[in-house]
Assembly symmetry: C2
Homo-oligomer: 305 residues x 2
Amino acid sequence: MPTTTSLPPVGYIGLGIMGRPMAGHLLRAGYPLTVYNRTRAKAEPLVAEGAKLADSPKAVAEASEFIFTNVTDSPDLESVILGEPAAAAAHCSHKSAVIDGVRPGSIVIDNSTVAPATAKKIADALAKKDVFFLDAPVTGGEKGAIEATLAIMVGGDENAFQRALPLLQKMGKTILHMGPSGNGQMTKAINQILGALHLVAMAEAFALAQAAGLDLEKTRQIVASGAAGSWMLSNLAPRAFAGDFRPGFKAGLQNKDLRIALEAAAELGLDLPATRLARADFQRLVDMGCADEGTQAIVKTRWKR
Amino acid sequence: MPTTTSLPPVGYIGLGIMGRPMAGHLLRAGYPLTVYNRTRAKAEPLVAEGAKLADSPKAVAEASEFIFTNVTDSPDLESVILGEPAAAAAHCSHKSAVIDGVRPGSIVIDNSTVAPATAKKIADALAKKDVFFLDAPVTGGEKGAIEATLAIMVGGDENAFQRALPLLQKMGKTILHMGPSGNGQMTKAINQILGALHLVAMAEAFALAQAAGLDLEKTRQIVASGAAGSWMLSNLAPRAFAGDFRPGFKAGLQNKDLRIALEAAAELGLDLPATRLARADFQRLVDMGCADEGTQAIVKTRWKR
């Protein structure tokens, strides 16, 4: 009677910078793991560690009680979980999405950052098959994913959350149930608004420091220690000063997340002028060709070269 | 040969919320202290502790080797140190400003937050009398003033800074020389830009949380722990949630400081669009009659009642 067989089978779809280490924690905790990634090579390190490789999201769903997803944007997620709209409309015989293979009582847990409205739509569609859906976006970056110190903000059914919690605890440190479906994504949108505006604040304040000829690092030290302090100022400003624009979190993704936040606000009849300004700045940064640089590259919208 | 007589005589002009505790630290450290305040009653607690009361800024300057000032805005400071322009123009016989009494070799140290250009103008005027001027604005609020944990950012002559340092160390914890005259105020402007934008970020992000029906405090906890964290989010957001708008730092003063920052930027040919937006928000808050509330009242420009 080996104890490991008591752990339920788990699937993970989307093995990017975040997904791969997160899936790895489940595997190393003893969960039988089936994985799928569009680019197959990204799955191989996990397969080498003992994960099974599936040939579709559907196959992952068929093999798993808990199915995790981690993709880039709302349309990708809909396609992975609900299938291609075109294929569905044509009653295409080759159905390969999660919804085509998932069993009643299973839980689909999405770690992507997508629109709250998308999370609600997917939750509704899966509920018709007696499948639970949790929107569970994360913060903490690649480092947090590798070290299992992520913050995970979860929307969806409370009982499903409790069932998923032991698995989420393998990936993150702070895990909170934020309410019904969509509330995890809404919390993430709030997180992204704050982060983006703190980055714009950093860019603008140090544009003035630069123009005035101040020692940037000395200025940062004295202001970061008090009421003007932020995580961005402590962690990303020194990289920007050093001209290090390698990505912790990519500017293009920050731009996408701000679009999601503004759309979610608009659906609630809310105008967010400062967020609109930050979004325009990140869009400009993307238009400058810097989508794959880290968010600290926002200083390029304000600083002289 | 009592050792206390070796401490030079010190003056403090402007005994408001910040100035009174700062002057008190000098007095308790054994410096012979002469004080002046327009509203005389505010000087009495220090007089009761042993400070001498002077009847003008000039009289403070005559009695002191180090003369501190702490007033609200640039015109107040010019009037206290250089005198009323009208009186000067008329060669008014009753000259009562610091410059009318100060002795060569003395150091005037301003703890106010004023325009960098005002600091430079005053430094130039005093230099003609062989008097040094240090612009030495502070951050850390009333609590920092009382506990002597302020950060003090200093512009002006390096040797004058070294002479003043033992006195500044009685009032603050982090004390940095930022370069020539005006650089202390410029550093403070940068500090105020960051703080204001972090407050606007808080107001806007939690307007979305409120509209979405999220638990505000739970949302704050999960986002404050990561890359979206800021001093404002940790310290002022809980007060705003509780409807506590008592001032740590007054909205009207934040508005004034943003005006100073934008003017300083404009003089350097720099446009700061996010700071302009924050300034418009604080102006609106002042127009709503909230100048004497704490800066966390900025949420009133975004939140539903």
